[in-house]
Structure formats: C-alpha cells, structure tokens
C-alpha cells in the first residue's frame, strides 16, 4: 500500500489517467454499438412510421442512412466519424447529434450539480448532527430519514411531489423547465426556471441525501473515537475546532469517494426524473431516443455520459488526494 510521495505531481497523474481513459472510451463505444445493434426494433420503421410504405422506399431510406451495411463496417465508420468529432445525425430530430446532446446536456448538468450540492450539504449537516449525539432523537430521525431515502424510488417520489406540491397545493409547477406562456426576462426568468427545478431536484437528491447522511454519521463516529481526537482535546482545542477541523476533515475521505461514485447513479436517476417532470435534458432525450429507435442519439448520449463519468471519477481522485496527504500517485 505504500506509495512513493512526490514522485509524480498531481497534474501528471491526472494527464496519465486521461490518456488511460482513451481505450476505455473506445471500448464503451464498441460495446454500446453492439448492444444497440442487437436490440430488437428497426430504426427505419420508427423513422418512416407505422403506415405501409413501398418496400423500395424502405430500402432507399435504409441505404441512405447506411443501415444496409454489415454491423462491423458500420461500427468502424461510426468510430471514424466520432474521432473526427461527428456523432452522426438524429433521425427523429433532424439535427446533428452533437449539437442536440450538448444543447440538452446543459440543462441536465444544472439539475445534477444542484442535486449533488443539495444532497451533500443536507447529508453532511444531518450526518454530523446525528453523529454528535448517537442514539438520540435526532440520530433516530436521521436514521429513519436515511432508510426512507434508500427505499423510495425516484420516479415514484417525483410523482408524489407533483401530486402534493403542484396539483394539490399549487405552489410549484408540475413540469417543464420554464413557463411557456409567460415571457420572463432577466431575474424573473432565472426565478421562473429555479421554481421549475425545485421538485425534480428534490426527487433526484433524496436518495443521495440519505446515503451521505448515513455515511457521514458512520465515518464521523469512527473518527471521533480515535486517539488523535482525544489528543486534540488534550491540547485544549475547542469542541467546535475538534469536530469541524479534526473530525470532519478526516471523516470527509469516504464521503468524497461516495459523492463521485454516486454521480453515475445520478445520471441514471436523472433519466427517470426528467421523464416524470418533462425536464428537457439528456435523460429525457435518452428515453425518447430509445422509444423512437434514434440510435445515433442514444449512442451519442451514452458516449458523452461515459466521458462525463470518467471525468468525475478523475476529479474525485484529485479531490481525495487534496484532502488526504497520504494519497500520492
């Protein structure tokens, strides 16, 4: 387990990890391509529609999109175009895939990042609160909350939130990412979009609040029983210093790991939540592209999401190294 310190700077480590990710991304493309090719359903049927088209027209469309070629040839051509930065053309949206995905990605990232921030803040605060008084009422409450968070599925929670806060109380909009009928500008537009984001963000973050709460509690309880906490008290440090600087800093390491690890699950969760709330992000686009057999879009999304997950994992490792002086690569 011993790592030589300072042999390589963090930057060099990050660069090396990025280069190592290239074959990984190629592997992801190949596997996704094969999976999509093996999936039932014909994109041409989806493109033309259900009505009976003349067979020669179907064949012409098939040839036009290159779908008459064998799978290996199509895969090599796809890889070639990806390397040139071309992710293909969306059948259903009549728009280049890259342009379409990037347009939607921004909205998904806004939702995901606010989810991670909210879940981390609430989870850490609740976890610290519970760990300071183990087996108290606060602790039991936090544990019960965490259990609920683990067991409630996002899509169901989303529907309940819509029923209560949008349909029942009428406080917040039920879906979409902005009001279509009103034309807000400036701050009003920001507030309007934020109001649309509250319910999807809550639905998506509940589980991660729970995970972070449990983990913070467990990690902090363990750290607060360690010898160096006793020693810092023996040096006369205030209980606040002991908790926040000694305790939480040491307890943060597993929390950072899990936040990064959760990111890929939040991507999956966002597909469900965006569908429930009609949030026009990548998750919603992925759902639609599966239904319309819009394979270039699906492949493009999978590729970009894979790259995002790899980048987030890298960021997690960098953050870990910054927090824990024992970790050097």
């Amino acid at each position: 387990m011993s790592r030589a310190r300072g042999s390589k700077a963090l930057g060099a480590f990050a660069l090396e990890r990025l280069l190592n990710a290239v074959p990984l991304v190629i592997g992801v493309i190949v596997i996704n391509f094969l999976l999509v090719s093996l999936a039932p359903g014909d994109p041409v049927t989806a493109l033309i529609g259900e009505f009976p088209a003349p067979p020669e027209y179907v064949e012409r469309v098939r040839a036009q999109y290159g779908l008459d070629r064998p799978v290996p040839e199509r895969m090599v051509r796809y890889l070639g175009s990806v390397v040139r930065g071309d992710l293909g053309f969306s059948f259903a949206n009549r728009q280049p895939v890259l342009e379409l995905v990037l347009e939607r990605l921004g909205r998904t990232l806004v939702l995901m990042i606010s989810t991670v921030v909210l879940a981390t803040i609430v989870g850490v605060v609740l976890g610290v609160w519970a760990a300071r008084r183990p087996h108290s009422g606060v602790d039991r409450g936090a544990t019960g909350f965490a259990l609920a968070g683990y067991s409630i599925p996002e899509f169901w929670l989303g529907q309940i939130l819509i029923l209560v806060f949008a349909v029942g109380l009428g406080w917040l909009p039920a879906g979409g990412f902005r009001s279509i009928r009103a034309d807000y500008v400036g701050w009003a537009a920001v507030v309007d979009q934020a109001r649309h984001m509250i319910l999807p963000m809550l639905a998506l973050s509940f589980r991660y609040m729970a995970i972070t709460t449990r983990l913070t509690r467990a990690s902090l309880l363990e750290v607060m029983n360690s010898d160096y906490i006793l020693a810092s008290r023996a040096r006369g440090l205030s209980e606040r210093r002991v908790l926040w600087e000694h305790g939480l800093r040491a307890a943060a390491l597993p929390i950072i790991t899990v936040i990064g690890y959760n990111f890929s699950f939040i991507v999956a969760g966002s597909a469900l939540v965006e569908t429930v709330f009609g949030w026009p992000g990548v998750g919603r686009l992925m759902y639609d592209s599966i239904f319309t057999r819009d394979y270039p879009v699906l492949l493009g999304i999978l590729l970009i999401v894979s790259i995002a997950v790899i980048l987030v994992n890298l960021l997690t490792d960098v953050a870990y190294a910054l927090f824990d002086p024992r970790v050097r690569y």
Binding site: S226, A231, R233, H246
Partner: protein
C-alpha cells in the same frame, strides 16, 4: 487563575507542589456494573521533579492521568470524588470550558503511540499552531513552532510534514513539542516510550529528562517499565488494581521495596542479574475490577498473606522514607500508620 487568553502564569518555583491528587476516584459504567479504575488515589508532584506512576496494564495508571485532565477515552468514565489540585487550585469543580483552558496550556500530555495521536490529514505545524491559537498564543506561532521543533531535535521543515511522513521517534518528538508548546507547569507522559524501538526509547527518554530539567516543569511519568523509572524518576508511586500500594524515593524503592507487590515487580526485572527465590515472583493476574477482592486487593497473589489482609484494606504505613499499604508493616519497629 489563568483563563484562555490570560498571560502565562509565573514559572513554578523549585519544590513547589505542582500537582496534588487527594483521594481521587473515577468510575466507569460497564455492562458488569461500576468499575473503579482509580480508587482513592493520592499523590504529589513537585516542580522540577519527575514522579513515576508504575503498575501493570489495567492497574488504573492511565485512567489516573485522564482523570487529571478530566478527559476520558470513553464516555462511560466519570470522575466521582476527590481533588485534583494544580498549583493549589482544585480543578474538579471547574466547568468544561475552564478545563479546556487548562488542557494543553497548564498541563501538557504525551501519549503512548505517537503516530495515532496525531491527525493524519493535518500537517504537524498546523496541529501545533491550533494548540497555540487555542491558548491565545497564535501571534508569532510560526517562530514558536520552529523553536519548539528545534528544542526537540527536529528541523523546522518538519512543520510542513504530515504524520505518516515521520518515523516513530520523530512523531514522539512532535508529541513532546506539543506537550511543552505552551510552557505548562505539569507534563503527564503516558507510556511515552513503549511504542518506540529500543534504541529510540533511550533517546526520547533523555530528551524528555533534559527538557524537564531545563524548563523546571513537573512531570508525571506513567510506565510499566521499571528500567525507565530507574533512569529518570525522582520519586515513585506503585499502583495496583486502582490503588496506590507503595510510594518511595526511587533509590529507596529499588534498594528496599516495602510492599510484596513491589518486591514481586522488582524480582521480575532483576532476577536475570541477581536470582531471587522463586516465591517472590508474582503469580496469577490482576483482579477483575468489577468485583475486586475484599481487604487488600493484592492478597490473592501475596506470598505473605495473613487473615487481616482478607478482611481489611491496609492503610499506608510509613517505613523509613517510604509508605506502603501493607499489613506486614503494622506494628513493625519504626512503622507508623498514616491516612
């Protein structure tokens, strides 16, 4: 009385009583009932003096140290009675915040396993700086830290290092620097050399003894190692099953141990050089403190056990310049019972 932020109190004058424990009793709630790891312990440490507190593991010597700081490794422990007088002031009635100002400022503590008593994610310098800041000595902390590290024989660059980058000996030197950082009147060292390599043990011990002499501080040295006691202590208390069984100047203790337990301990150390009759060695093990034996707690293991030992707790009898809690000295010529 110094609070956080108060200027350091005047250095203790030689011979002044720095720490005095009077009938200190600490209890731990355990699944098998109340345990008293510290049972009516009285001892005294003077300025410029190193006092040893010796005993087997489980005898309550570390709990005595934690009781002085009123800081326990478990929430189940509680100081129940007695006095902890630091330079005359009883610390027992003080609220936690006032105790915080005492810890690390008036009393420095050195722990057994130096590496586990330093936070792995904070640099050495930061941990020393926090302590100085906690006692309103944050101004000029950088220079003070460099000075402290130099005093314990470390380069000032060590301040930027993290605990895992230090050897055991270096980490314990940092521990010593921290104990002395705020120029305390008393240093409590709990098995400071036990976790170190033998060659490093001697170095660290010499360092502690030198700094103690130069600073004129009082030191309470907790150890099970009689070699350490012989090397650095002026006065020794022997603890057995939560009680002090013998107290003597170090020379007297080694020359003429008065309590059968002390005799057994010394026999265990010396029999390689000077073989003793086998009956002097101690048989059995430390009693279970949840249900200690009545009378003298050592009686089940004592080679000289008498009827009275099983019934009544022996008081401390003065024997020459030593005091021993043993009925053998009752009515002996020159022996006199004291409290």
């Amino acid at each position: 009385m110094s609070r956080a932020g108060a200027p350091p109190a005047a250095a203790p004058t030689a011979g002044e009583t720095v720490l005095e424990l009077r009938d200190l009793t600490t209890e731990i709630r355990s699944v098998r009932g109340l345990v008293r790891p510290v049972d009516a312990v009285s001892l005294r440490v003077r300025a410029g003096e190193v006092v040893g507190l010796v005993g087997e593991s489980g005898s309550g010597k570390s709990m005595t140290a934690f009781s002085v700081m009123r800081l326990f490794p478990t929430k189940a422990a509680r100081l129940v009675s007695g006095e902890v007088r630091l330079r005359g002031r009883d610390l027992v009635p003080l609220p936690q915040e006032a105790m915080r100002a005492v810890r690390g400022r008036e009393v420095g503590m050195i722990f057994q396993d130096p590496a586990s008593y330093l936070n792995p994610v904070l640099s050495v310098g930061r941990q020393l700086e926090q302590q100085l800041q906690a006692h309103a000595m944050g101004r000029g902390a950088r220079a003070r830290i460099a000075e402290l590290l130099r005093d314990v024989g470390l380069a000032s660059e060590i301040a930027g290092r993290y605990p895992h980058e230090l050897s055991g000996g270096q980490a314990q030197r940092v521990g010593i620097a921290s104990a002395l950082a705020c120029r305390p009147a008393l240093v409590i060292a709990d098995e400071p050399t036990t976790a170190l390599d033998v060659t490093i043990q001697a170095q660290v011990l010499r360092l502690m003894a030198r700094l103690q002499r130069e600073g004129g501080v009082a030191m309470l040295l907790i150890t099970h190692d009689l070699g350490v006691v012989a090397e650095v202590c002026d006065h020794v208390y022997v603890m057995y099953a939560g009680r002090i069984v013998e107290e003597a100047p170090v020379a007297s203790l080694f020359a003429a141990p008065q309590h059968p337990y002390t005799q057994g301990l010394l026999a265990g150390v010396l029999d390689l050089i000077e073989p003793k009759p086998i009956e002097v060695a101690i048989h059995g093990s430390v009693p279970d403190l949840a249900s200690p034996p009545p009378g003298c707690r050592f009686h089940p293991r004592c080679p000289h056990v008498m009827d009275v030992c099983r019934r009544e707790t022996p008081p401390h009898f003065e024997v020459g310049d030593a005091r021993a809690a043993c009925w053998l000295h009752d009515g002996a010529p020159g022996a006199e019972a004291t409290a």
